[in-house]
Symmetry: D2
Subunit: 375 residues, 4 copies
């Protein structure tokens, strides 16, 4: 890839582009839209590839957790998609952090920069979430949630949501950077001193598998992965799990106790969202241990909270990535500390987004990360 | 009080002492026991006063969470009681941190000092909890839980479980130091930067009331207390609450939103143990807020954990005091930053321990802190 | 004060205003300037009062540390002054955090919001410091350092640099909020768990005196203040110092050891900038203690850094306030936890800025905080 | 190696052993001493190997920083040596953390467990340092500093100073665990979130080289090592340095700026003790960066502390390892994340300790880690 000069010259950018938009629930439609214009502190990204996340399915079917112009994302010409990467095609005023031609991947959240939480660096907890339209424009953006995302040829991104992608990394792998960033952030909030500590990861979805990979890259020992599907667990082993537990064959709490000589683990990354996951996590950690909740349980569940109190356990909810963990995760991937490509199973062209979603939702051919290649 | 010389001279200490012991459940018996001997790093405390805590009731009725010689505390000549104070009557080998004649109050936990958690300073999360007998003596002690406590004339304490009591403070007030230490510790784990931040305290029991007092002493603004009994809530106001909510008259979540202009609070100290308390706490805090659970819910409850994930909320279970917070709380009390005596409602002599428990359990005459005066 | 409606109606704002500008070194000139216009996320403040800080003297005499349009602040029509307060006269696009008529005080730094440090919440360490002009506009602002400040009738402020001022607080007292914010921030970086811990403050200038006040308000015990002038030390006592040491009469390290029974203090706030201050601070703290450097030493000094290593001491440089500590400090002042007014000694009208500086620099009549009342 | 049963059976342990003792300065003498007896919470280690550290040279020549029985270590039958490993030969009362036959390496500090700092987990900042004799026995131990060390056939160790050594690791490599623990601890105090962050290590001594190895193992990028000897710098490259700077050929600050595109690094591990090292470190880090001082400068040096203040830099002194970092470092080594053996250059038998010291001190044949093989 030739590195283009940083002068604010335009690549040849068309006036309009192909983009999928969400009409009613489950109604994605391929249409033609104007190519958006980057404002100050923004760049225009020519999308290279975009991966499908479980949250995209939630948005397309139920609307939430997207929130467009103060309401559900239906029939607003909204383009979903938040796990994308591409090439900088144009830069807005004042941007010199990225140059035209730079390959970039994205993280989701650009906080408003002016609420209490953003001022503390907690931009994923922005108190002005969704306020980026018209009179209520506070500057918050969440790609593919509150602003147009990546199932399109181009997307505008605030510079705060971009990370550089090295040349050797494929487009498909680069779509996984934000997933690795979420896993890294989870380990950060657990305290970050993971080397030599024991880690259980519950749920071998993309974030769970990445938690295995990042945790092991940081030196966690042992790393234990629990799940129901042996195919996924095997990928977990290749990503660094020292032990995998198929919970249909062995009780996961007993397995963790067995592996740790009865002690339990220091940390649990809960990535399953299963109804009993919290109770099991509290039984897996030792006294004074910590749990990160990275998955959304679908419904309220019976939880024995007295265990938290009795055993001085701390629990950290995380909504995706945060605190620049995505940059740090990208650096680990650039150093080839684990092979994220193992999670990439399928690729479809932009025209076949519905088929890509079907593969993802029905887990056809053991699909994990289904990528849509745009350019 | 005359300060006696620090030489290891004995005050006149009898061979035996009066002490209450726990036979079967609900069977407290006043008996005569040998006065114990302090070992290295220990002192003998001549008990001045001991307060009744809700956990004492749990122990006396159900055994747990006490754990004596590897089992339930029944019929082992065990003396409960952990909120006590008194005067140093004798010091063990190597002790110069305290001198004979020093007035002291106690915190509960002396960790083993050798497990991973103790080495990190998390002595209340000691992994050798209860191992302080015979071959399994790892040095852990929890006064009135795993070793004899304060419903007696004397008790032995590790120096790590002692804090100095200033002369101006009454015996009765000094029994509340450990309660203040628990409240302080809760605010510490919430991050400690409480001044100018908003705090909701749910449940006006002793720890809740102390959380109000310590939180306000540290500058929290506003401090909101919720509960069901107006008498307690009024004491909360005198201890520093800016707003009190009787939850039988107003929904506590709506009240918190009303008071904070819709924003919610930065911190919740959950001190009620009520089944819905966690759900309400998650609705009370703003995005990125933090909750400390300081009360044991009696049973598993339906909890909507997705809120933790969606809003980046952190939850901290604490089992009593920790990290020397009791020392820091005692310093606040010595500086008269709040009037802990407001929580002390009744006093009985050592012989009337059963009556004292009855007043506490049945909340006779609005009893809050019921103190047994021993010497 | 009547609270005006939040509609974006203008108060009657003139086209031009009186403002002091800096020509050459020591050359302040009163002139007429256009009243500036607030942009998005900004408000126009009608200045009520502005205090003189030692850094203002540095700027006026040497230029640094101000940095205007990429260079020294001379002959650029620059208005200094960063410790000011006033009333919101107009709000820019998207502002609803403040309304016209709100009384506000300022903190200095609005970070760019897009560099690594700002993204972490460290906006006072903004890596785009001074880049807020023309092509290099990254959004950074430091009032009175890199943008026009408060020796004028009006100033524009980013909403991130504002805090509310309660009605009961005088204009003069409100100018001290940012000083209190700096002291609070220093205690925050020291860990924030100050209650019951020992604190030495070296240097009874405004930040030192505020460190005494805030430290004591947070429960530090004992608070020891060192300095050379008894008049200042006496004010320290009224602000909460438990002990004051005139270092011309007693060696400060020996005094701290004496007061703490040989143990040394947990924390030192170094606010003197004296050549030997760091060496003394290292001798004042106990093993594992922490030092905050809040004053700029004028020149390199001989420092025995081996003490840091041998005793596991941590040292934190702070450049003014940060991490919203100013908001928290303002809350303490609103709660009347200490009487900041004790530090305010003189008031002059806007026309007499040079005289005000002379009083401040020559410490005429024991001047501490000299305030210029504008409206 | 056969794992022996955990029963407290003695291996065949002689009554006396060979041990080097320190008479006057520079006067090491090989003698016969009683084999010591482990007390409660202690084990007897049959020494396998012991490495020479720069601090050993300090002790042997000047006495400090050892401190035996309340004074300098001369003529007290004191055996130095703190970087040793061996096999558990006997366990004291209550020990089940280690069994006879376990291979172990040591860290230096067992805090008293009862001072403020130990109670916080800061056992290397123990306020009872050196108090482990007679009436003043507070339980503090620092192997080879305040109690007998490893230039002998046996040594007694508190369980808190031991870590397990895996079977595949050689004795020589295992002596380097504590060095790795110091490097890990330095990175821990810098915040621990090292992956993807830039790190400069100044000084390619053992701790500097280990800081390179551990920093890179944790994902730091880039890792820059500065020093004067190309042989050492080459080892740095093999341990993971991305860039090495011979400061006799290039100014280290300029080199760091060059490599980081003018930005400077996030973190500096200062391991040289050079007089200008602190000034250079302050110029190497970016605004808001952090510096760990892990080396003792020999003398006070001119330091421009105003840089700390102006740029919000934090500085952390560390005296060796701490907070169980040694356990975590050992886990990284067990996972073969770097090849510590590259630092081991020479081996001598116990009888040749003086020769081993000569090789180390005079850097004969580029000696780095000189190991004495005992058994």
């Amino acid at each position: 890839m030739m590195k283009l000069s940083g002068q604010k010259k335009d690549l040849s950018i068309p006036k309009t582009m192909k983009a999928w938009v969400l009409d009613g629930p489950e109604q994605l439609r391929l249409t033609e839209k104007p190519v958006p214009e980057p404002g100050p502190a923004e760049v225009l990204v020519r999308i290279g590839a975009v991966a499908i996340c479980g949250t995209d399915v939630e948005i397309i079917t139920k609307g939430l957790p997207a929130w467009i112009q103060g309401g559900p994302p239906f029939n607003k010409n909204f383009t979903p998609g938040h796990e994308y990467m591409g090439t900088v095609a144009k830069v807005g005023a004042g941007v010199d952090e990225y140059e035209i031609g730079d390959r970039v991947a994205v993280e989701i959240h650009a906080g408003c920069g002016r609420c209490e939480r953003c001022r503390m660096g907690m931009y994923t907890s922005c108190l002005n979430y969704g306020l980026n339209y018209g009179d209520q424009d506070k500057g918050h953006r969440a790609n593919g949630f509150t602003t147009d995302g990546g199932f399109a040829e181009y997307a505008v991104n605030h510079v705060n949501t971009l990370v550089h992608v090295p040349e050797e990394m494929s487009d498909e792998e680069a779509t996984l950077i934000v997933t690795a960033g979420t896993a890294m952030y989870g380990l950060d909030v657990l305290g970050g001193l993971i080397a030599g500590e024991s880690l259980a990861v519950t749920g071998p979805g993309p974030i769970g598998l990445m938690s295995v990979a990042v945790g092991k890259a940081l030196g966690a020992q042992p790393v234990i992965l629990t799940g129901t599907r042996d195919t996924r667990l095997k990928i977990g082993i290749r990503l660094g799990a020292d032990h995998v537990i198929n919970i249909q064959k062995e009780d996961p709490v007993e397995a963790v106790k067995r592996i740790t000589g009865g002690k339990g683990v220091h940390y649990v990354m809960e990535c399953s969202g299963a109804p009993n996951a919290m109770n099991e996590a509290m039984d897996m950690v030792n006294r004074g241990g910590r749990i990160c909740l990275a998955a959304f349980p679908g419904e309220p569940a019976l939880v024995d909270l007295a265990k938290l109190v009795r055993n001085n356990i701390y629990v950290y909810g995380i909504r995706g990535e945060g605190r620049s963990a995505t940059h740090r995760a990208a650096a680990l991937m650039a150093q080839k500390r684990f092979d994220a490509k193992l999670m990439h199973t399928h690729t479809f062209p932009l025209e076949e987004v519905p088929k890509a979603f079907r593969y993802f939702r029905e887990r056809i051919e053991d699909a994990i990360k289904v990528v849509v290649k745009v350019h």
